[in-house]
Amino acid sequence: MTHLTVSDVTLTFGGLNALTRVNISIEPGIITSIIGPNGAGKTSLLNCVSGFYHPTVGKIHYGKRNLTHASPHQISTMGIARAFQNLELFRGLSVLDNLLLARHQNLKYSIFHAVIFFGKASRMEAENRAYVEKVIDFMELEPYRKKMVGNLSYGVQKRVEVARALTLEPKLLLLDEPMAGMNIEEKEDIVRFILDLKKEWGITIVLVEHDLGVVMDISDQIYVLDFGEVIGSGKPHEVASNPKVIDAYIGEE
């Protein structure tokens, strides 16, 4: 099991500090939530971890590997997957193809095999399809398998987004607001998926979420960001009673 450590990360855009000396350590096998008001830098942090941004100062390590300057496609092969906040799906493809695309690195055959589609290519496609089906089964996406992603409802698209990240076979799953804009039933579904992922699949989960009720319920560890700085961390009940956190969320009296 590998730790993700974010040490002293500062991210600057022009004169603006999106993140200031952030130190976070993510323990394997648990659900870690990152919360904070709008613009606190939660998504920027995830972008740093998944390689879309590179920290101005500081380092990010996953186990022994240094992620600081790795690009997203390199990071995706290290067992870190990311579900996006704003749907970043391949809208012109079916759910099945969206998930199969996440198997890109696992499909190891040459273009000549692909052109004649015989032997290796056909066999590997079928094998990886079986894995995709496992994910579809888990995320309860069976009815939408062949549907074009662009035509699905928002809630389902969010679920496809999580499913696609899962298809990468991650050890560490970064979920960026997987429940934003969902109704209570859909939220309950996603929470159930997250808990099952932790228990049955043994995946470490980093959750960025605005719904504090959910976060307090399911997290093992919480980090609170405000204006790019970590202002509190700990178990849910510790965070809930942290005066700085209460200030940031409710404001001073």
Partner: protein, 364 residues
């Protein structure tokens, strides 16, 4: 399993391999076999004037080229305005061999299938080089980069003595098992040769599209950020798309060179690039069979309009100026109308028909 996919209510596959197949039922497969057979056999029964055979050959060459353009523009979403230049690269590869080795060298006359594949490879290399800006540029800027390649290509050919300054460089007749292909059977021979190429290339593309090498193209079209996060390098995927398009263009160019028995710059100008793009749009971007409909529609339209303008020129002498303008006018009109009313091209009609039959007698 239902014997007819068109009327089936669902799918009843029991393995993933079954679902990978191109033809789900024996009916589908035999329909395709019959179609291909018909395409091969009709010249035996119907005698066609050489002039029209050339038009048909021309359409087929355009099909190969548009198939490549469709991969880069339709599937990978990268507008390429230099496709005719890639076709030209293929044609000039053949011409170069003729110039260096002598026109009637064994390689050109006997190993012509090899030469065609080789021309494709050269096209792929150039495609990859021209695609390099895709590592940095996007959208319109990338289109301009491809346009600049078209310009560089034309300029280079026009000013280099080696390429006869754009004047025609002749290409040899090829040999077949029956001996050298004579003038009378030239067009029919090439009809068969190009048809074989299309069948091979068509199935290759169809296979490619159901593997990682095809899916990654659509991924960079739809969302290259997500493609990056899913483990593919978006930049290199785009370069690869250009290389792929370059290969098809190179093959088309070599076929063109052999078919016309000559290579001149006038067949690979900017207007040809635009007309390839128009064929791809009219046929249907992002569909495989669109690459067949597009060239067919545009070339037949051209032919009809040519006849019309000839008639107008002969009979309505006061409108001769109009007659010469008819061809570009109708061409432009067709593109505008398609962009307005059927941006998904002729391929979409096929989709509509199929879903109608599948749902019949219900409306939806």
């Amino acid at each position: 399993m239902s014997s007819n996919r068109w009327f089936a209510t669902g799918n009843y596959f029991t393995s993933y391999k079954e679902e990978q197949r191109i033809f789900f039922t024996s009916l589908d497969r035999s329909a395709m076999v019959l179609l291909i057979l018909a395409l091969f056999l009709w010249p035996l029964f119907i005698q066609v004037d050489n002039k029209y055979m050339l038009v048909i050959d021309n359409i087929l060459v355009a099909v190969v080229a548009v198939m490549g353009l469709n991969l880069v523009t339709g599937f990978a979403g990268l507008i390429s305005i230099g496709h005719a230049a890639f076709v030209g690269i293929g044609a000039y590869t053949i011409a170069c061999f003729g110039r260096v080795l002598g026109e009637n060298h064994m390689l050109l006359t006997h190993a012509w299938p090899l030469m065609i594949v080789f021309a494709g490879c050269i096209g792929a290399v150039f495609g990859g080089i021209v695609g390099l800006p895709a590592l940095r540029l996007r959208h319109l800027y990338l289109a301009i980069a491809t346009l600049s390649f078209q310009m560089i290509f034309q300029w280079t050919i026009n000013f280099m003595d080696f390429f006869n300054q754009g004047q025609t460089i002749s290409v040899t007749r090829v040999a077949w098992v029956t001996g050298t292909v004579s003038r009378s059977e030239h067009y029919t021979f090439w009809y068969y040769a190009i048809l074989v190429a299309i069948v091979l290339v068509g199935f290759a593309v169809r296979n490619l599209l159901r593997t990682r090498y095809g899916r990654c193209l659509v991924a960079v079209r739809d969302n290259d950020r997500a493609a990056d996060a899913m483990g593919m390098h978006p930049g290199f995927t785009k370069v690869y798309a250009f290389a792929l398009a370059g290969f098809f263009a190179g093959v088309a160019g070599a076929l063109h060179a052999y078919l016309y028995r000559g290579v001149g710059i006038e067949s690979f100008t900017l207007s040809h690039s635009i007309s390839f793009l128009a064929m791809a749009i009219v046929g249907g971007l992002g569909t495989l069979h669109g690459a067949f409909w597009g060239p067919l529609a545009i070339k037949i339209l051209d032919l009809q309009v040519e006849q019309l303008s000839e008639w107008v020129g002969n009979h309505l002498t006061f409108a001769t100026n109009l007659a010469t303008a008819l061809k570009p006018l109708s061409f432009g009109l067709v593109i505008v109308l398609f962009l307005m009313f059927e941006p998904r091209g002729i391929a979409n009609w096929w989709r509509i028909v199929r879903s109608y039959v599948k749902l019949w007698p219900f409306r939806y």
